[in-house]
Amino acid sequence: MAQPIRVLLAKVGLDGHDRGVKVVARTLRDAGMDVIYSGLHRTPEEVVTAAIQEDVDVLGVSLLSGVQLTVFPKIFKLLSEKGVDDLIVVAGGVMPDEDVVALKEMGVKEVLLQDTPPAAIVATLERLVTERGAR
């Protein structure tokens, strides 16, 4: 039997807006995925530790506070320090187009902005996990 895709959805930093991430969590649950939710105000260290312990396929970081260019470099630095090379990192939220370009250069696989339909989020994660292959 195929294993459900495991996703960690994380809110990092001083950002109390979690309506969006909860809608995404519910959407992914209803698409048959196991969704681990971090809760609010996590640090990059906490998120990376959780992603490793939970052995998720996808780490989705939701940001509505504009600090993406501070948070994601920290996450990638920690991941490389800990030797994690097969985690799919995805960003979600509201952010300027030039930041999207910068994040993708850093290694973020997809940036799902505020106007992404729920079905497209599901399809994107399924595609990324398929492209990665078995691990």
């Binding site: 698409a31 681990i36 312990q53």
Partner: protein, 328 residues
């Protein structure tokens, strides 16, 4: 990306306590492939050192919060703590939202703590099928105490007591009276009763109900030398946790050093064996059922046959397929 490390090769890294390898092997245990089970066979033989504590109770009773506080206390004793936190899968999509970590944020980056969330994936009894494999993996990974937090249970999900050395049942105030307390089921399985949220004014009533329930059964439900305690705790004020730690430590000695404890270890092994056989049967049967159900259930719907005849036919076909596979 995408390179596959064989499960057997993960074992030395698990033994070295490497977080990533532990996490990956638990995922493989969940997938249940033959390749993974070969590695789990080795893991089981090397496990058996950790004190396994089961924590159960109704949804919202405060299990995760209790686990977070309690794990912190165990850390202060210098013990490494693994936590397997189970939440339900959706009966419709098969997906889940695993939210127990949210209550355990204080533990998040302590290297002596490992938290793993698991979905039930249709398993009954309050645990996930791979939960006990995960316990063994954490045991081999060097965790001294492994806590299994069950799903929020009803009155009847008592499997945890058959798999853990020490079972803690968490009750919250305001959810029933002394009649609820003497009913059969979950309240019977506790080695330690905890009443959570003891900062609330109605908590004393719950403490009293549980204590009087225990005295009613004092003559008939003896547990050897162990007298089941009732401990009130409050995560807000911190009260009661020292007492809980004392009781758990005392029960650990009972579990590993007394006749009562040895008898329980034998029952745990027996449960593990029977449960594993049951899971394998379900796996094989489910495969057969998926293949045969559409045709057979159509006949049932047309009332050309009856449920017992067709169910027998299905079981027979499943067994025959298995025999054929064995000879192949």
């Amino acid at each position: 990306m995408g390179r596959y490390v064989p499960s057997l090769d993960l074992i030395p890294r698990v033994e070295a306590g490497e977080m990533g390898a532990i996490g990956r092997l638990i995922s493989r245990a969940e997938s249940g492939t033959p390749e993974a089970r070969e590695a789990l066979a080795t893991i089981y033989r090397r496990a058996g050192k950790a004190h396994v504590i089961g924590i159960t109770g109704v949804p919202g009773s405060g299990k995760s919060t209790l686990v977070a506080h309690f794990a912190k206390q165990l850390r202060e004793q210098g013990l490494k703590v693994g936590i397997v936190a189970v939440d339900p899968s959706s009966p419709f999509s098969g997906g889940s939202i695993l939210g127990d970590r949210v209550r355990m944020t204080e533990l998040a980056t302590d290297p002596g703590i490992y938290i793993r969330s698991m979905a039930t994936r249709g398993a009954m009894g309050g645990m996930a099928r791979a939960a006990l494999d995960a316990v063994d993996i954490l045991d081999v990974g060097g965790f001294d105490t492994v806590i299994i937090e069950t799903v929020g249970v009803g009155q009847d999900e008592v499997e945890i007591a058959r798999a853990s050395h020490t079972t803690v049942v968490v009750s919250a105030p305001g959810l029933g009276d002394e009649i609820q307390a003497i009913k059969a089921g979950i309240l019977e399985i506790a080695d330690i009763h905890v009443v959570s949220k003891c900062d609330r004014s109605d908590a004393n009533r719950t403490l009293t109900d549980l204590k009087s329930m225990l005295t009613l059964g004092a003559l008939t439900s003896a547990r050897g030398e162990w007298a089941v305690p009732v401990v009130g705790v409050s995560a807000i004020s911190g009260e009661g946790f020292d007492k809980l730690l004392d009781k758990v430590n005392a029960h650990r000695r009972v579990a590993f050093e007394t006749e009562t404890g040895l008898a329980r270890l034998a029952r745990i092994a027996r449960f593990r064996l029977v449960k594993t056989a049951e899971n394998l049967l379900i796996e094989r049967f489910t495969a057969a059922a998926e293949r045969l159900a559409p045709k057979l259930s159509a006949r049932l719907q047309r009332r050309e046959s009856d449920p017992y005849t067709l169910a027998n036919e299905m079981l027979l076909a499943s067994a025959q397929k298995e025999l054929a596979d064995e000879h192949a």
